[in-house]
Amino acid sequence: MAPLDPKRSGWIWQVTILSLILGMLLAAALKTQWSVRRISGIPTTRFSGLAQALLDEKDKNKLLRNEITDLRAKIDDYQQARGKKTTEVGLITEELQRVKLLAGLMPVEGKGVEVTLQDYLGRIPADTLAVLKDDYIVHDMDIRDIVNELFANGAEAISIRDLDTEQRIIASTAVRCVGGSIQINHVDMASPFVITAVGPPNTLESGLRMPNGILDNWRATKGLASQMVKVKRRDHVVVSAYSGSTSSLFLYAAPVDSERKH
C-alpha cells in the first residue's frame, strides 16, 4: 500500500495506541470471566444460567443423598452377614447395633405419634396487624419446641419429613430458619412438616396438649392451632435412619485418650 500523507494518517497511530489498550482491557475482562467460571464451577455468570446451575446442583444433591442411604444399607447387610459367623464378632455386632440405635443411624419402628405442622392455608384476614402475620406460618422454633417436648415425654426416636425428604433428629441436628425455608440437618425443608416420634403415644400426646403447653398456647391469634397442628397417636410408625454424611460430623472433636490423661 502506498504510504499515506503523514498529516492525514496520524490518526491511525492514535487509534492503534487505543486499540492496544482495548486489547489489554479485553484480555483482562475475558480472563476475569473465565476465572470466575473456573472457580465457581458454574458455566455462566448470567442469571438464567445461574438458575439452571442451581437446579442441577439440587438434583445432584438428591442423588448423592440417595446414594448415602443405599451405601449405609449395604454396610448393615455386610455387618449382619459377618456377625453370624462367630460369637465374639456376634457380641461386637450386637453392641454396634445398640450404639447405632443410640446415634440414630438405624431406622426404627414402634408405637408413637405423628404431629403434622402446616402453614395456614386460608386467606390471612386483611385487617391482620403486621406483627401478627407471622402467626400464620410454621417457624423453626415451633419445630424445636415440639421436638423438645416429645423428647421430654419419652420419645426414643424422632424424624421430621416434608414432601421431599425425611430427616432424623440426631445429636448434632440443628433446626433453623434460612430465608423462606427451614433447614434441618442442613437440608432445606418446607411446610407441611410431619414430625414422627416413637415412644409412649398417650404420654407424648398429652405432653403436647397439657394446659399452658405448646398447643394450648399456640399463637396470639386464636383458632389457628386446629388449622396448623394435628397430633395423632399411632400403633405403628417408622422413623428412618439419619441419611446425611457422617464423615464430616467430627472435624474437631477426637476421643480423649484416657491413658495419656493420667
Binding site: 490518526w11 491511525i12 487505543l18 486499540s19 489489554m24 484480555a27 476475569t32 455468570t45
Partner: protein, 118 residues
C-alpha cells in the same frame, strides 16, 4: 497501515493474556463496560479518521469520559439496585452499530469508485 489498529489490538490482548494479571471478580462487570466503551471510541476514531475529521482531543476525551460515565452509571445502579449499566450498553452499542455501518459504506463507495476507474 490500515491493519495497524488490529495489530495493536492483538498485541495488547497477548500482553495481558500471557502475563499473570487477574482482576477481582467484583470488578468484572465494570471491566466489560470499559471494554465496550473502548471499542466504541476506536470505531468512532476510525470513522472520523476516514471522514478526515479526526481530532486528537475529541478522540481521547471521548474515550475517557464515556468509560468513566459508563462505569459510574454501573456503580450507582448497583448501589440503588437498578441495572443502570444497561443505559450505557444500549447507547454505546447503538453507536458502534452506527459507526460500523458508516465505515462500511465508505469502503463500499471506495470499491465502487475504483471499479469505475478501471
Amino acid at each position: 497501515m490500515v491493519l495497524l489498529p488490529l495489530i495493536g489490538l492483538i498485541g495488547g490482548f497477548a500482553a495481558i493474556y500471557l502475563l499473570d494479571v487477574t482482576v477481582p471478580a467484583a470488578y468484572a462487570s465494570y471491566l466489560s463496560l470499559a471494554t465496550l466503551a473502548g471499542l466504541d471510541a476506536i470505531i468512532g476514531g476510525i470513522r472520523s479518521g476516514i471522514e478526515e475529521k479526526f481530532q486528537t482531543d475529541i478522540f481521547i476525551s471521548g474515550f475517557l469520559a464515556n468509560t468513566l460515565l459508563a462505569v459510574l452509571l454501573a456503580y450507582i445502579g448497583e448501589q440503588v439496585g437498578v441495572d443502570l449499566f444497561l443505559a450505557a450498553v444500549v447507547v454505546i452499542g447503538g453507536r458502534i452499530f452506527l459507526n460500523v455501518s458508516l465505515i462500511r459504506r465508505y469502503w463500499l463507495t471506495k470499491i465502487a469508485l475504483a471499479k469505475k476507474e478501471q
